[in-house]
Amino acid sequence: MSEPVQPDFTVDSTDYEVGQDNVQILGLDIHNPVFMISAVTIVGFVIFTLMFQEGTAAFFGWLRPWLTSTFDWVFMSAANIFVLFCLFLVISPWGRIRLGGADATPDFSYAGWFAMLFAAGMGIGLMFFGVLEPVYHFQNPPLGVNPEDVEAARAMGMAATIFHWGLHPWAIYAVVALSLAFFTFNNGLPLTIRSAFYPLLGDRVWGWPGHIIDTLAVFATLFGLATSLGFGAEQASAGLEYLFGIPATDVTKVALIIAITAVALISVVAGLEAGVKRLSEINMVLALALLLFVIIAGPTIALLTGFFANAGHYAADLLPLSNPFGRDDTAFMHGWTTFYWAWWISWSPFVGMFIARVSRGRTVREFITCVLIIPTLVSILWMTAFGGTAIDQIVNDNYQGVAETVAAYVPELSLFKMLEVLPLTMVSSFLGIVLVIVFFVTSSDSGSLVIDTITAGGKTDAPVAQRVFWATFEGLVAIALLLGGGLASLQGAAIATGFPFAVVLVAMCWCLFKGLRADPQMAR
């Protein structure tokens, strides 16, 4: 089993040179089809959406739910495959393969590496849904649990939430990240999404099939980021109004987008280490501060024991929750699970590529432990702290503040309502707002770097002007959609790409497996 198969692709088996399809115009260094098609398609989509708002809203408002309902089994089976594949790899002999070759050393420390991958992969959602989702599932538990049975509902509420933020989303990211890292660092292929399909498509991957894959990835990433930014500005602005009375007007929202984009620009111009990594580390410190505060200010003992209890509930309910067949609670499954899976999958090219870029020198085992297992543990802790505190407030203190935001579905206020009845509200809420904004910045800066790399044909040393272009462009698209009305439509479009990508990612698993088996490191 540990003999390598005859390698049918190695560093030398393709003649493709990174950057060979690039053109240098106007002082830029861009991949000819992908850059132009992406930019033009994005502008076209935005204009079309703004002009035909109702039509596009109706169409994508229909398309996305239709996909996530009709093909629920596709999304869920795919995600299950990713989890199993990752767990398999971590215990398999291929776990010892090192990214970048047997003598490669990691480019970043554990702390910096983990900060970057976590800040890119998650964050914003944790802030808003960390409070709202556990409470919602507590009140409307899936899998037929009786909401009147407080303990059972609480257990299921936490388990269902952790299910959505635990192994499955991180496995989705891990699979993409590992594939891209492996094919780039161990096989010398360009750092683009298409490279992961070289085992399947051979040299055709440098032509149109590859152009389509990369363009779709840019499309999903840019619209995912821009619409998140737009919605995020709305949510942050609602928070600011609630906390500080700053009116939630379009001016406030646009100002927020501009501020976030400006900081992201400073970050990408400062570069990967001085900008992106540093900001991610600050992000982690602030998040840790808020987490510790909530644990200490909340029902501390209950939360600490809750961590283990919830991990147990998660493990117990994992199989039933991941099962797509014969489910009665389809409202839950389609409204939450498959929606999330589609969302994470549509973000996976971006998050996956960014994690790949910073992961050289790690073994497959190390990689999966830190990209899958540790973030899951962090999510369990986070959800326990935030959601557990919120549920405790309802059950033990009969505090309805959070429950009201859940009923009205106003996620941006759930967090602040929970913090309101804890001490030092102004401080913690301010920290919360700052953290939300910083999480947006860390997604925006890493996303811009990823789009820049894909549209430069895999080059990570393209002129700085290009990354500035993409970061700015993303802000502009967010502003246009926010003001013109199209955020929901294009977020729907971005998430809809999760459907083709779900299938694509399963193929990626197979390509990765084939690649790992052929790696020279297995010969020892």
Partner: protein, 137 residues
């Protein structure tokens, strides 16, 4: 007068760096100095090499060839720059320090390539280095 001369080279455009390379070789011979060809690569594949290891090999081969042809003590020093578009010059200065260079000989630019596509910025290095810098035009 000088013991270690550092020469930043862009392996992708070696043919356009003739004057700088010749000047460096002449000075090395004149002062009996060791010449270090310094090259930077990304951790991801580039047009020059698929991996940093391959890049190192190519740079060493380049140094060996020139050393033999010119009769000087020519060595290679490769470095991996994680974000060269932003960090290259700083990373180069760090490397110059590591090899104890007391003179840098570099081309002001690569003819025919627009300024910002080039690897390193001679002006920045001339301003920020603590050692002598010979900018070749």
């Amino acid at each position: 007068m000088y013991k270690v001369i550092a020469v930043p080279v862009d392996l992708a455009h070696v043919d356009r760096l003739t004057k700088a390379l010749e000047t460096a070789a002449d000075l090395a011979k004149a002062y009996g100095a060791t010449l270090y060809y310094v090259g930077a690569t990304t951790e991801t594949p580039s047009s020059v090499a698929h991996t940093p290891k391959e890049f190192k090999g190519k740079l060493e081969q380049f140094a060996a060839e020139r050393g033999t042809a010119l009769g000087i003590d020519a060595r290679a020093r490769s470095l991996v720059s994680l974000d060269p578009a932003v960090d290259l010059d700083r990373d180069l200065l760090k490397t110059f320090k590591e090899i104890d260079a007391d003179l840098v000989v570099m081309a002001s630019h690569i003819p025919g390539i627009k300024e910002h596509l080039i690897s390193s910025n001679a002006g920045w290095i001339a301003s920020h280095a603590k050692i002598s810098v010979f900018v070749v035009r």
